[in-house]
Point group: C2
Chain length 727, copies 2
């Protein structure tokens, strides 16, 4: 019952200081909520307890209002930043400036605003209250404080190191623009990662699956280990030189290795896309970086979980090590399963309901299911972000085929917008954080060491792995590709999010600062150097890779070939291009077989014959692929559409079930083609006229039949399967 | 330095109890963030302070993890609910069941889950800590608590009434599913309201502008006042009967009148849409309910601001009353201005940049600007939700015309999905809240009184107002329309959000419970009764109102008439329908003039001649509408596209600048038509083929010219302006 005895009017410990932590940019202003709620509560509590002095209430209300306004202003700052970035990007794209990517730009703008905020705004002083009471030895999450008869509820925000309490020179505005790090991890990353999975170009991804997996898993582990060890050396050196003022353990170094191993060649890939650079290199880089992120997240949490038996021995402990490996495998496979299962469930729901007549419902369901993956994984103790990645891949591979055309574009566009906003927000925030973040620890030795370490780590992972992979690959990864991969080791959003997640200790603060600088450097230098590097390394640009939408347009042409031009349908395009004789991809035809990793071929056949027919409306009817004793099951699971599509071809079906190499392709597939393209035709009409209801499934079917007939007549043209060519 | 003396191990005052308050459904799980961050902080603070016992840390970490999982589970509950709702809606739509709207369904599912949570889960006990210390007479926002040497930071969550501290029998799960009310106001309502503004059918809205404004402003005020007074009578009665256990002032009654006056005929309008009921009635109902919401928000905050001079005199105070009226006008006009200004700025930016070549950038900008309205208004002390409404209307009226076709559909679909999710979430939450909300005050007399009061309030507003409006309107609002409007007085999301915003006092809790019941009753009973009511009242259904998308399809046909079939272009369609002779709208042609309120005609001419040319690519060139001395300005502001469109017609231009009644329509307008339709053609091709780049402005222009030529040849057909008919 004693009055508090230690009042620290620490400058700028803001009123409602929690708000900025909740600040969710791509969402809507919770923080405003805070402010408003506070205001409302203040006014209402005023009504309830009239005996309290009106003056006091007014003061509280005013303070809350003031804080609320500041919150709005700080969010507005970010919106202004993003708006500026968008306008400048447009200008750059308009003038075909390529030396600076939008993310780099967002960082620069963030940096400028950060400098202004840091040096331009006066340090204001807030009110706060220190209440020192020796309680039991743990802090409770909720405190009830009796202030002269009125009870106030307080919630634990976190621990602060005792040294900081008085010394931190804080500024309201700076505090406001500093978000809760978990916002990055739980709100900004999921859309980015989901989009990556959802927009994965599966054809080239699966073609290079083996190499991608090797780079992502082995490569990241090697890189993490090498960087960790090098940094441990650097830390030892710093200790000798006397530059290290606090503890820095071996596990910390490994943790740094893990977070900095997450590459994010967003700039490079954007330029690749624009210049139409080699698609296989694109697939390798993109695939690696996507899986890479997942590996880095799980790896870093495994390292955190690595706790040797004695608390103070930060030496190697075999048991703890294997426990960490177990945790890694557990979390990874668990998250993978979670993501895949949600994807499969969504596919089944969209397949067996006629939800596609109501695109809005379909999109909403799709969104909710994808989001629930994140929650489900988190609820089960796995990593939501990783689960979301695999969910994205599964959704794109199966569910996408069941969606109505409108939902396809809707879902793509929805996630594209979310991804764009989230990504640019993270990069502007990075720029801002360099000046507004309060706990930077700049250590030149560590930073230089880190740059060297990531260079060596990347080299030690790309070149040896490529060497070993080339032993198995028939289509070798050339030196120029290897150099390009080496060069493209940018660090981006994921490294930043992992680094900012925990900046409590000295070691972590130093890591955060270093990560930030590495991100800055790589985004600007490598982003700017991509185009010269491409020409210097003689990497083909201007490859007329058919983008997904282009494929839509060209689908009618594919009919001639009679193969599946569906989303994933891998090697057909090459043969198509060969037929077209555009010369650009003339190597393509001959290398297709070699590139199909055996694991891919096995998977493809299983996927094509069983999974796709079960989960989507496409593929051969299960009745033809499953053994006879599963007849009933097969009939239940096969969608009637497949039969309908099959009808006009039925008598010839058996002739066309070809077995080429490891791949079983049935001619029935081509009907899917017809379906796909006719519904894309539906799309155009429906968007023209909005008369979706009329172009319902019956019409689609009618057209399908028509198209199928049309194809039947052209069936005389040889079925050019790429694998056949080499047979 | 005294140890806390009053520990209340209140059951279920959960660890990290803040989390559920931040829970933002349509967004991403902040609360997961909380949980995770907590875990991370726990683990890191562990690393930093090794001297603390490992056991304690583990306990905290485990608790945080547990809480984190519960958060995920509670969010998953909502996702499950929404998913179930979506699937059932599909089933209903599929089978054409109309007696229950999706919102009603969401409420039922919410109710069921609420019952399960309430009675199915055991009450768990959490940990918390009461720390009673007599401080100075105000609570500080941040507390620093020294727990045996470690400093913890606590933030003020709010006041709790002393009686509640021990008595509340709380349950972790129930707490988890109870959100911070401001989430509704700041996150769920803005997309709903923006969508309402953005999808407003401007043609009919503006045609009935006068009546809509009368219903929305006068009607809501009348309704609020009548309900408030009736409820004050009820409260007096309750006091006499002895049913009232706490204070209930006159201002509280007025506040109740304000929140319950916000109608939300979402169910009725959905059914209207489906049955193609009379469009004017639709416009009246929709327009009223949209503006209604804005009026109710501002009205309720004005009433809260009404504070008579003496704190204890809750009697009438003229000064305070006029202050409240001033606040009402200030907030309303401020929010309106804010929304309109942001809309205009967006229109100008999209007009004068060629952002439309990059739809993703454009959509992102559009989204950010619309969102910034909310923040800007909140930062300036206005109401964000109201600002967002007018921003939506402005964006639809001007910016929409500048967007690329892809952005148009993107932005529409984006907001449609957000709206759908937010709305259904609110309704499921309402169902849930009936059982899980902890502070219900059921008072039968108050509830019955409220039902009678809202009935009388609605009657006293619809019938007299309609009578007076009919004096001025040439096309009278018939009795059947009046009855239907009377019947459609549903209460929905807005009333709920306003009621839940503040449930601190006894009076507010009673209001909340009553509002919830009113929403339930009206949504179910009126939602189910709409179809029978429509046929009973002989209201035309099956009116082939051309929806916006249909208009796109029909644009080619409009050319014949040579009038602007642009987004807003109000009365032309009727004349078109008359030409088509479809008979359904045969009254249409003759009533067009009478219905155009003078305010509308004035506005339309100003808008058409000045605002649209300045803000969009459409309309007549400013050089023709502005006086000669503004020549330079006019040339700067007019977009080159307008001139280009104008070119082939230039020599005849002057002939066709007709001045009919109050309306100045220039023939130049028809070129816009050509532009509009040719770009909608672009849309179809671009969505077919994804080759957006190729169908760039040059091609559009080429087509425009072609189209214009085509039209020039058909210029012989009479220009059927609806106003001309009656002249």
């Amino acid at each position: 019952m004693e009055p508090s005895d230690a009042v620290h009017p620490g400058p700028g410990r803001a009123v409602w200081a929690l708000s900025p932590r909740l600040l969710l940019l791509p969402l809507l202003p919770v923080l405003l909520g805070r402010g408003l709620r506070a205001g409302a509560a203040a006014s209402s509590s005023g009504a309830a307890a009239e005996d309290s002095s009106a003056m006091e209430e007014l003061a509280t209300e005013k303070e809350a209002e003031e804080s609320h306004r500041q919150d709005s202003v700080s969010l507005l700052t970010f919106i202004l930043l993003l708006t500026l970035t968008i306008l400048t990007i447009w200008l750059f794209k308009h003038r075909r400036v390529r030396f600076l990517h939008e993310t780099g730009l967002a960082m620069i703008y963030g940096l400028i605003v950060g400098v202004i905020l840091r040096y331009g705004t006066p340090a204001t002083s807030g009110h706060d209250k220190s209440l020192s009471c020796t309680q039991e030895d743990r802090a409770f999450s909720t405190l009830l404080v009796n202030v002269s008869g009125k009870f106030f509820e307080y919630t634990l925000k976190g621990e602060i190191s005792p040294g900081k309490i008085n010394s931190v020179e804080q500024n309201d505005m700076l505090r406001k623009v500093t978000f809760d790090p978990e916002v990055f991890f739980n709100i900004l990353l999921p859309p980015i990662i989901f989009h990556a999975g959802y927009s994965l170009k599966k054809r080239h991804f699966f073609r290079n699956l083996g190499s991608i997996l090797a780079y992502a898993f082995l490569g990241t582990a090697v890189s993490c280990f090498i960087i960790g060890n090098l940094m441990y050396g650097v830390v030892k050196l710093m200790k000798i030189v006397g530059q290290l003022s606090d503890k820095f353990y071996y596990t910390d170094c490994l943790f740094f290795g893990a977070i900095i191993s997450a590459t994010d060649p967003v700039t490079v890939l954007a330029i690749f896309n624009e210049l139409h650079a080699d698609v296989d290199l694109y697939a390798l880089l993109f695939g690696e970086s996507v899986l890479n992120d997942a590996v880095a997240i799980v790896l870093s949490s495994s390292i955190v979980a690595y706790q040797p038996a004695g608390l103070n021995t930060h030496a190697f402990d075999a048991a703890a090590f294997f426990k960490s490996v177990g945790i890694f495998l557990g979390i990874f496979s668990g998250s993978f399963t979670m993501g895949a299962v949600t994807g499969v469930v969504t596919a089944l729901v969209t397949k067996f309901t006629k939800l596609h007549c109501f695109p809005l419902l379909e999109t909403a369901l799709f969104f909710l299911m994808s989001w629930s993956t994140f929650l489900l994984a988190e609820a089960c103790g796995f990593t939501g972000v990783v689960a979301v990645l695999f969910c994205g891949i599964t959704q794109a591979h199966y569910t996408y085929n069941n969606l109505s055309v409108e939902s396809r574009s809707r879902s793509k566009q929805l996630f594209e917008v979310l991804h764009f906003l989230a990504e640019n927000f993270i990069f502007s925030y990075m720029g801002l954080a360099l000046f507004t973040f309060q706990k930077h620890v700049f250590s030149p030795i560590f930073i230089i060491g880190a740059f060297v370490a990531i260079f060596l780590g990347r080299a030690a992972h790309i070149y040896p792995l490529s060497f070993f992979l080339n032993l198995g690959r028939r289509h070798k990864i050339g030196w120029n590709f290897q150099h390009m991969m080496m060069f493209s080791g940018l660090r981006g959003a994921m490294a930043f999010a992992l680094a900012i997640r925990d900046t409590a200790s000295y070691a972590r603060q130093m890591m955060f600062t270093t990560t930030l600088l590495i991100v800055f450097f790589t985004v600007w230098v490598i982003g700017g150097g991509t185009t010269p590097m491409l020409s210097w390394l003689n990497i083909r640009v201007g490859v007329e890779e058919l983008s997904e939408e282009d494929q839509n347009e060209h689908r009618w042409q594919y009919f001639r070939v009679g193969v599946d031009p569906d989303q994933d349908p891998p090697p057909n395009n090459d043969s198509f291009q060969v037929l077209q004789g555009d010369g650009l991809d003339s190597v393509g035809g001959s290398r297709t077989k070699q590139e199909s990793a055996w694991i891919f071929r096995l998977w493809y056949s299983f996927d094509h014959n069983y999974l796709k027919p079960i989960l989507t409306h496409s593929g051969p009817p299960l009745t033809t692929t499953l053994p006879a004793w599963c007849g009933l099951l097969a009939r239940c699971l096969t969608s009637p559409q497949v039969y309908d599509n099959q009808e006009p071809l039925r008598e010839d079906d058996s002739d066309f079930i070809l077995t080429e190499g490891d791949l079983t392709l049935t001619y029935g597939d081509s009907t899917v083609t017809a379906n796909g393209s006719s519904s894309s035709y539906t799309a155009s009409t429906s968007l023209e006229g909005g008369r979706r209801v009329k172009t319902s499934s019956e019409e689609v079917l009618e057209r399908d039949l028509g198209v199928s007939d049309q194809k039947v007549s052209s069936r005389g043209t040889p079925l050019v399967f790429p694998l056949q060519e080499n047979a």
